[in-house]
């Protein structure tokens, strides 16, 4: 007898923030018992085998293509004895330090900017064009300007990374804020929340899953900007290590550095996903 109708309700009824995919809650399609993971493992093994074989048969000179074993040995050596006056761990710590300093800066600026874009027309008017301008510029393009303005010290390196992180964080925050269900905000207001309280107690927590997605994307963007940031006047860092090695054609260190950068990116991604699960366990469950 009671049939609920939606016809007289507001059209914008979005409960989850858009762009908010929750990969772990999505059932993975499995066909004929073959899992994507197994296929991936085989792919990696094949690539490694082709690499090892080409190196073994000397299809390419070892100067240009060292064997996997040589790269692994170099990894051990650099980890123990270091390369260009620093151990591998010190390079990693220097790079991670820059990326996380940049992440903090990008959060401090990006989340409020995203909030402003999401909740206010004026905020959107101000920040949207600025972000859209900044977003597609490759870091190597603004690096010289940052150096001219801020010198060759550590702040410039952090700034270059932070600029790359800003847009993903701000835009994800904005999309999360815009996706907050109006009914939830109305509920808070009818319970006596002021506008400020509604932002703090409802809009921000509602947007948290989207903000974390933004952080994940930003860490990826920042990490891939690392080499550019360490182009100038660095004495430590993975990017610096790779460039120094390239200048002396120490290809095994270059390849090893690339693999370390990739491995750390993988670990970061994995860690943030775990953090997402702990911080926003409700995402995708409503």
């Amino acid at each position: 007898m009671t049939v609920s109708s939606y016809t007289e309700r507001p059209a914008h009824k979005i409960d989850e923030a858009d762009g908010l995919s929750v990969p772990w809650s999505r059932p993975r399609p499995k066909r004929h018992g073959i899992s994507a993971r197994a296929v991936s493992a085989v792919t990696i093994l094949v690539v490694l085998a082709v690499w090892a074989l080409s190196a073994r048969l000397q299809l390419v000179s070892p100067v240009f293509l060292p064997s996997p074993v040589a790269v692994w040995n170099k990894f051990i050596v650099v980890a123990r004895d270091g390369f260009v006056d620093a151990t591998l761990l010190q390079h990693v710590v220097a790079s991670l330090g820059r990326v996380f300093a940049a992440l903090v800066a990008a959060i401090v600026v990006g989340v409020p900017v995203g909030l402003a874009i999401g909740i206010s027309t004026i905020g959107r008017g101000i920040f949207d064009p600025l972000l859209e301008f900044l977003r597609p510029i490759p870091p190597l393009a603004y690096l010289p300007l940052v150096i001219i303005w801020f010198g060759i010290g550590e702040p410039s390196k952090i700034l270059v990374i932070a600029i790359a992180m800003l847009a993903p964080i701000a835009l994800s925050t904005a999309s999360g804020v815009r996706g907050v269900s109006q009914e939830r905000i109305n509920a808070a207001r009818s319970l006596g929340a002021t506008r400020g309280q509604a932002v703090r107690h409802v809009i921000l927590p509602s947007a948290l899953p989207a903000i974390l997605t933004g952080l994940r994307i930003a860490l990826g963007a920042g990490w891939s900007t690392l080499v550019a940031a360490e182009l100038v006047a660095a004495t430590r860092g993975l990017g610096f290590m790779i460039q120094s090695a390239a200048q002396f054609l120490v290809t095994d260190v270059v390849v090893m550095g690339i693999l370390v950068i990739a491995a750390i990116a993988f670990v970061l991604e994995f860690t943030i996903r775990r953090i997402e699960r702990v911080l926003v366990p409700w995402a995708g469950r409503e």
Binding site: T2, E8, D15, N186, R189, S190, G192, H201, L208, R285
Partner: protein, 263 residues
């Protein structure tokens, strides 16, 4: 109609609602008066503007013409003197059931221990005692609506605005929730304004039923079924529903709702 300000009243006076970009008003010159202790239920076909009227009372929609007042003062914004319970519960999934209920208390800066105690009392009242630590996604639809109800009551409102709160529930859960609603209403002196699609639900709960018709939304009939008063006086809900007078009232109300509709 002038009212004594001392006597709590939620009043919509010749309210018209006109949404931007719509050629015709959604609601035209509707007056509804909810006094303390009233249980007023709005029914009508889709598009009659019952939810719009509730939103005006909540302060979420401004009327194009007419006046919405609470205790004589114009309604300009949402306020905790008129707590709303929505159809899609609108609970906060990052909070536990207890924290959801305590939300209004937290906004007022009440200490954590005290608000947890109050919240547990209210959960007990809506028959959810012991579920305080549960996460929202662990609760069934009926339990969620009970949390929503307790959360609204925590604001200690003079009026409760219920927007089809039982619309998404299955028939058995809905019947149980109706009893809970009646018990809460009987035990307090809160005035209720409720929107529903359920004809039987309206009859069971209301002290007064206002029937609206669409195009534009307007009041066509007003009933005082009196069944909820009988429940408050101690009669069982099954006995009331089995009463031939109930069936007659249901027929009359159904006719009023569908009057003038092209077959």
């Amino acid at each position: 109609m002038p009212h004594l300000v001392l006597d709590p009243h939620l009043a919509l006076d010749k309210v018209s609602i006109h949404y931007d970009g719509q050629p015709a008003p959604a609601v035209e010159r509707v007056s509804i008066d909810v006094a303390k202790g009233d249980f007023v239920v709005l029914v009508g076909r889709s598009g009659c503007g019952k939810t719009s009227l509730l939103n005006v009372a909540a302060g979420l929609v401004a009327p194009a013409r007419g006046r919405a007042t609470i205790n004589g003062k114009p309604i300009a914004a949402p306020g905790s003197d008129r707590a709303v319970v929505f159809q899609n519960d609108a609970l906060f999934p990052w909070l536990t059931a207890r924290e959801n209920v305590a939300f209004a208390l937290r906004l007022r800066g009440i200490r954590p221990a005290e608000r947890a105690r109050r919240a547990d009392e209210l959960l007990e009242l809506v028959k959810l005692g012991g579920a305080g630590d549960k996460h929202i996604w662990e609760l069934s639809g009926g339990m969620r609506q009970r949390v929503g109800l307790a959360r609204a009551l925590a604001a200690e409102p003079e009026f409760l605005l219920l927007d089809e709160p039982l619309g998404a529930l299955d028939a058995l859960t809905r019947e149980r929730m109706q009893t809970t609603l009646l018990d809460l209403w009987t035990a307090s002196d809160v005035g209720v304004l409720m929107v529903t699609h359920g004809i039987e639900e309206a009859l069971v709960l209301a002290t007064r039923i206002v029937v609206l018709a669409p195009g534009p939304g307007r009041v066509v009939r007003s009933f005082e079924p009196g069944f909820s008063t009988r429940y408050a006086a101690g009669e069982a809900i099954r006995t009331i529903k089995a009463d031939p007078a109930f069936a007659a009232a249901r027929g009359e109300l159904t006719d009023a709702i569908f009057e003038g509709e092209a077959a």
